[in-house]
């Protein structure tokens, strides 16, 4: 754990002491080396699950894929931000990268935490750099509104979580995940316990986001600069899923009845947000609503609490993280050229940027869950486990899959196909940096087809 945390923390002095010319190359190189070292976490030596070097930070097959995703994403965020930060003064560039690194540190400690309180503190701590990135470096005036929604939705959800955790500590004497998994089942038989159950999960449902409390996400994803959108879509949403999976162990048997409305809300959310995607004119907004749709499926998979549900949820989280981040990067390349997020302004781009059209094509195919990519594998497992829970859900999840395919196709056709308008013909070519960025997003997704057991979690 420290072999990754210490190089990440040392990125701070590296950033602040490097010369302006070599700031970005050195940041990229060091973060890629950190990503390489993080791959060693995938070697799980023990069969009991947790691999720990000390009592407070440990990895297990559930947290490892998310940790590797987090560490992989930092160099990608640095690559993506290099161009749009170029006109800014050097210290502001350093500050931006420092915010990304601090976010990375908090995320590593959150996913690696064994104490639930430490997870909670890091969960809250990630809000601060993200808020600063959105409100300081966002491009439109709506970014202030977006930051407010983002901060207060998450805080309102997580304050009950703090109370619930303190109550849990009171009754079990410990909040270490290593011990709680072996503790006696709690007697949960009063109305207060129902509220406690809700308190444990609301924070993560808001973060995922569940359909009813998802309003912060389109605002935050759209107004954030590209690195902010990437980290929000790829990792911060998964904090919610990860937290839910950790807490679910202790919440039985209440979850059998109490999860019912949330599963239905999640499934309905897939349909609603998918339909909203079909009506979007803003490119980033479409991708943001598509994230809500996919995470609705993940929430449904986690709430049914079966091995297939959990496994499908983890697979879909990792796959969606990479693909959604890739789509935001592509949207940003369009934005940097046309200075607008309107899909109508960037049509027919296949004619002028054919290789980029290949990236759009692969990213959209992955988004609509094409076999054999892990997106499909996760979706199929979740749909199957929901069908097992209640056969009627197949109507909702099947329709949801159809609508996902529809809006992914719509996105691709709108941006790539059709006649190229005159004002597009003068767009500058795609940079090598942007091609590399897309390759580094999509190659891991394709490689995961060959070894999916890395992301099956601890239910297998």
């Amino acid at each position: 754990m420290l072999k990754v945390l210490i190089p990440t923390i040392m990125l701070f002095p590296m950033i602040w002491s490097s010369s302006p010319k070599w700031l970005w190359p050195t940041a990229t190189t060091q973060s890629l080396l950190i990503a390489l070292i993080s791959l060693t976490w995938l070697k799980w030596p023990s069969e009991t699950g947790w691999s720990a070097s000390n009592m407070y930070l440990a990895t297990d097959p559930l947290s490892t894929p998310l940790l590797v995703l987090t560490c992989w994403l930092l160099p990608l965020m640095i690559l993506a931000s290099q161009n749009h930060l170029h006109p800014e003064p050097i210290n502001r560039q350093r500050l931006y990268i420092s915010l990304l690194i601090s976010l990375q540190t908090f995320l590593i400690m959150a996913f690696g935490a064994t104490e639930i309180i430490m997870f909670y503190i890091m969960f809250e701590a990630t809000l601060v750099p993200t808020l600063i990135i959105i409100t300081r470096w966002g491009n439109q005036t709506e970014r202030l509104n977006a930051g407010t929604y983002f901060l207060f939705y998450t805080l309102a959800g997580s304050l009950p979580l703090l109370i619930a955790l303190l109550l849990l500590q009171q009754s079990t004497g410990t909040l270490s995940m290593l011990i709680l998994q072996y503790s006696q089942p709690l007697t949960l038989n009063s109305w207060g316990h129902n509220i406690w159950w809700a308190g444990c999960l609301i924070a993560f449902l808001v973060k995922m986001p569940l359909y009813g409390v998802h309003l912060w996400l389109p605002k935050a994803h759209v107004e954030a600069p590209v690195a902010g959108s990437m980290v929000l879509a790829a990792v911060l949403l998964k904090l919610g899923g990860y937290g839910m999976m950790r807490m679910m162990i202790m919440l039985d048997p209440l979850s059998k009845e109490l999860a019912y409305p949330f599963i239905i809300l999640a499934l309905w959310g897939i349909l609603m947000t998918g339909s909203i995607c079909l009506r979007q004119t803003d490119l980033k907004s479409l991708i943001a609503y598509s994230s809500v749709s996919h995470m609705g499926l993940v929430a449904g998979g986690i709430l049914v609490q079966t091995p297939w549900g959990f496994t499908g949820a983890i697979i879909l989280m990792i796959a969606h993280g990479l693909v959604s981040s890739a789509l935001f990067c592509l949207a940003n390349t369009t934005y940097e050229r046309t200075h607008s997020r309107a899909m109508m302004l960037a049509r027919g781009m296949q004619m002028i940027l054919p290789l980029t059209a290949v990236w759009w094509f692969i990213a959209n195919l992955a988004n609509l869950a094409l076999p054999p990519l892990p997106n499909l594998m996760g979706e199929i497992m979740i749909i199957t486990t929901l069908f097992n829970w209640s056969p009627w859900t197949i109507m909702l999840s099947g329709l949801g899959t159809l609508i996902t395919a529809a809006y992914s196709l719509y996105l691709f056709l709108m941006t790539q196909r059709g006649p190229t308008p005159n004002h597009i013909k003068g767009l500058s070519p795609f940079h090598t940096r942007e091609h590399l960025l897309m390759a580094l997003h999509l190659i891991p997704v394709i490689l995961l087809v060959t070894k999916p057991e890395l992301i099956w979690g601890w239910c297998y």
Binding site: W72, N139, R341
Partner: protein
Amino acid sequence: MASRLSRIWPVVSRVRLSSALGTRCVSQTPKSSAAGAAVASDLQPVSPALQDSHGHTEVNPFEKNPDFHGFHHHDTFVDEWNMRLAFFFGISVAIVIGGTFIHYLPDHGMRQWARREAERLIKQREAEGLPLMTENYYDPSKIILPSSGDE
């Protein structure tokens, strides 16, 4: 069908836009939503949106440096070396060496062993004519049950 749609769609949307907003296609709606950022005034030649913070219009970086890789706008040396470092550490080191490491990870949870063992047992039992699996895991004759009646 999709190609027909994509041919009709730009015309339809342009008609709707121009009829709703006038032929100059300048949006008068207040920028209250994210889609408000997509104003068509970006289409005008020298608008503030096309100028950077110093008031200069955008310069195509490929004109000065045809080998621009997207990393550093002014210094070709740094741009080229940044590209080389990013590609080397991103692809050759992280994906190739990392991928090789992952490929040779030990068989966690004995999953691959279990699959091989199952195939071996199936082949063996089919050759011997035995059923692939018996109902009883334990031999029923070896199970000693307490006598019913007392307790």
